[in-house]
């Protein structure tokens, strides 16, 4: 018996040993940690973007590399993984505010597991040549230069059904409180997204007043960003109050169901990220024949980014190479086409893709995308007066979700990291998410339940008590 047990043990040790030994071929590995469904994963005929890069790298250098690709669903999951310090990645793709958090951790030396390596732009030829000038500008303004290279970007706005919703109403976040659309609105179940309409309500007058000050667009973004990102305690409270007063007007909060609900007609207004909006608008048209529009409200239009960063200890050489590869316009088009979000890369191929998707010769709108593509295109794309124009019918729809007009993009602020106010904001959020029932009513119901429980208990034990009493009386009588 013992012998058999030992031999089993031995066998399992051998098998396990082989697993670890057989895997350790001396192959260079690049470990990438990205959002789910956030890169072209190829199909039967075409290899995925990552495989294509590995082949390309082999052709150029003669060195074999393998990509270990892991995905996450939320920034917070990703942060938790990195914070444990158990897994080393070479490239990670967080959102703007997380990049900000990681840069702060690097510069203040507060958390080694979140610290970053710096990029060397001389090794990122494609980024320098093809990244949109608008994106570079905004990255510089937010202090991301050196630490992060953009990947995808977009706006936060609302998808709406023009059949039921007045277009004028969609130009302000006030729509979320508009009783005309009661129970037809959904809000994103995410404190950072909900903070946008809330702060817009808190500072509406000041935000609208910014227009009259004749500010440059960079200054406007800065001033608007300061207002919308305010985390002074009284502003957090005010945001909480604003959200609470919204709660009875909206249908509910959602993370994923909004897209299908608006197509099904359950709701008519859905707070959404531009990439999701492009997808929903397309799906609604294709599957249900429903027309949906997208609008970024003017009193607090927000822009977001996801970008590549290299955690401390990353293989920076390979990481640079892959990021540079992803910044090539033809690769950017592949990814955009696959995931539906907008790449930060401009260039001829990307503009061709835009024309192919949205251009209509007799389109009623002419949209000026100079702010986005300027300096990345070859000469023949410019109009006579030096503009980059698209003639299209898709304004206010998919096209606007993918490429906001200049006025929207230039006014877009970035939601910053809440920093050490994070917990306070979350407490406000938990308060908003808890139940809209007055404490007096709750306590009243609670007391009724407790009284009921006591009554049931007494009633059930009554026979026992009765018989005990009778027994006592009987015993007393006997004496």
């Amino acid at each position: 018996m013992m012998k058999r047990f030992l031999s089993l043990l031995l066998l399992s040790v051998l098998v396990l040993g082989c697993f670890s030994a057989c895997g350790s071929e001396s192959e260079r590995v690049l470990r990438v940690y990205n959002w789910q469904d956030y890169i072209d994963e190829g199909d039967d005929e075409t290899p995925s973007v990552l495989d294509a890069w590995a082949e390309d790298y082999y052709a150029r250098t003669g060195e074999k590399v393998r990509v270990q690709y892991d995905t996450f669903e939320t920034n917070e999951t990703m942060l938790n993984t990195l914070k444990t310090g158990k897994s080393q990645y070479d490239l990670v793709c967080p959102s703007d505010y997380v990049i900000q958090k990681m840069i702060a951790a690097t510069e203040n030396g507060t958390d080694d597991n979140l610290a970053l390596e710096k990029f060397d732009y001389s090794k990122l030829e494609n980024y320098t040549n093809y990244a949109s000038p608008y994106i570079k500008q905004v990255f510089g303004e937010n202090g991301f230069d050196g630490y992060a290279v953009g990947y995808m970007w977009g706006t936060v706005g609302i998808i709406y059904n023009p059949e039921y919703v007045d277009e004028e109403d969609t130009k302000s976040w006030e729509i979320m409180w508009n009783p005309k659309y009661q129970n037809r609105i959904t809000l994103k179940d995410s404190v950072r997204d909900a903070y946008i309409p809330a702060m817009s309500a808190v500072y509406r007058e000041q935000i609208l007043a910014l227009d009259g000050l004749g500010l440059s667009s960079a200054e406007y973004r800065k001033r608007l960003g300061d207002l919308m990102n305010s985390t002074a305690s009284e502003d957090i409270d005010a945001a909480g109050e604003a959200l609470k007063s919204m709660k009875d007007n909206i249908y509910g909060l959602e993370v994923d169901s909004g897209k299908t609900d608006i197509v099904a007609g359950k709701i008519h207004i859905n707070q959404a990220w531009s990439g999701d909006a492009a997808y929903a608008i397309y799906e609604a048209e294709e599957t249900a024949g429903v027309q949906l529009n997208f609008s970024v409200p003017e009193d607090g239009g927000s822009v977001w980014f996801d970008g590549w960063v290299m955690p401390k200890g990353a293989d920076t050489e390979l990481a640079h190479d892959l990021v540079n590869y992803l910044c090539a316009p033809e690769v950017a088009v592949r990814n955009m086409d696959y995931i539906g979000y907008t790449s930060i890369v401009a260039g001829d191929e990307v503009f061709d893709y835009v024309l192919e998707s949205y251009s209509a010769e007799d389109g009623e709108h002419t949209v000026d995308l100079t702010y986005y593509f300027n300096g990345t295109l070859s000469e023949d794309y410019y109009s006579e007066d030096g503009k980059i124009l698209v003639q299209t019918d898709e304004v206010g729809r998919m096209f606007s979700a993918q490429y906001p007009e200049e006025s929207v993009a230039l006014r877009g602020f970035i939601m910053r990291d809440f920093g050490n106010k994070n917990e306070e904001v979350l407490t406000m959020w938990a308060g908003f998410k808890s139940n809209n029932i007055a404490p007096e009513i709750l306590i009243a119901i609670f007391s009724v339940i407790i009284l009921g429980a006591v009554a049931v208990f007494l009633w059930f034990t009554k026979p026992k008590r009765d018989s005990a009493r009778r027994r006592k009386e009987w015993l007393a009588k006997q004496k």
């Binding site: 917070e76 914070k83 909206i250 917990e423 139940n435």
Partner: protein
């Protein structure tokens, strides 16, 4: 060297390892997180923040009320059903039982999502009536958990006692309250514990049916952990653990008479 002998005790080793790895250690981890701050120092601050916060009390009270309401409604519906199913005159009880258990074979998330659409269709949408829709979803999901233990108890009912009661002049109502109800008490308690605790800690049903407009203890734990506030999340988990412990203790006396939880689940 003493010889290691392979005895029957060794067979318990895998489970012991499992218990230590997945029950004992996590329990201590939760406690450790609940009573430490971000720097790892011991503190009662999390507990104080939790009880000093109106929304936590609100969440606990609402969870408790929904838990009780769900238990009572499930019992009111499930008790007669179980009684008839278990009755000796019932034809094909297994088939009938199957019909009640069948919904449980459909994936829980799918089932909840489908009931959300169904309710919307008949006009009880979660946006306008988040509490009503959530209650319906809860009852729908937990009803089988009530019927099963009650059914098991009732199949063991001694009908001669019921007959004796009426022979001795008890009216039907008296027969029920004095004979049937006490005989099925263990089943009721078992059913109640199987519904009450999970209801309080569930978060999928309230999220889907209530359109995320209401918050139970489970939702609040999820919120804190999602946002990386592990210490706050852990204290909520500890409070819930205590509530469950109190619940178990309160029903312990009735339980020991008969263990009826081993059912066809």
């Amino acid at each position: 060297m003493s010889k290691i002998k392979f005895t029957r005790k060794w067979l318990a080793l895998p489970y012991a390892l499992f218990m230590i790895l997945f029950v004992v250690i996590p329990l201590f981890l939760i406690l450790a997180y609940a009573f430490t701050d971000a720097e790892g120092n011991f503190t009662f601050n999390n507990l104080l923040t939790f009880f000093g916060n109106g929304s936590s009390i609100n969440t606990i009270l609402v969870s408790f009320i929904i838990g009780v309401a769900n238990t009572v409604i499930c019992l009111l519906i499930g008790y007669p059903v179980a009684y008839f199913l278990a009755h000796r005159d019932m034809k094909m009880p297994a088939v009938m039982m199957l019909l009640f258990i069948m919904p449980m074979w459909i994936n829980f998330v799918l089932r909840t999502a489908a009931s959300r659409d169904l309710l919307f269709w008949i006009g009880i949408n979660g946006g306008e009536y988040p509490y009503l829709a959530t209650m319906i979803g809860m009852v729908y999901n937990y009803l089988p958990f009530v019927i099963l233990p009650l059914y098991t108890t009732m199949t063991k009912l001694d009908y001669s006692q019921i007959e004796a009661a009426s022979d001795l002049g008890a009216r039907p109502r008296q027969t029920f309250t004095k004979v049937i109800l006490p005989m099925t008490a263990p089943g009721i308690v078992s059913a109640a514990t199987m519904v009450f605790m999970p209801t309080m800690s569930s978060f999928v049903i309230s999220d889907v049916m209530g359109e995320r407009k209401l918050s139970l203890i489970g939702n609040s734990i999820q919120l804190y952990f999602d946002q990386g506030l592990w210490h706050m999340g852990s204290i909520v988990a500890v409070v819930m653990l205590l509530l469950i412990a109190i619940g178990m203790f309160a029903t312990k006396n009735v339980q020991k008479e008969d263990d009826v939880r081993g059912t066809m689940l």
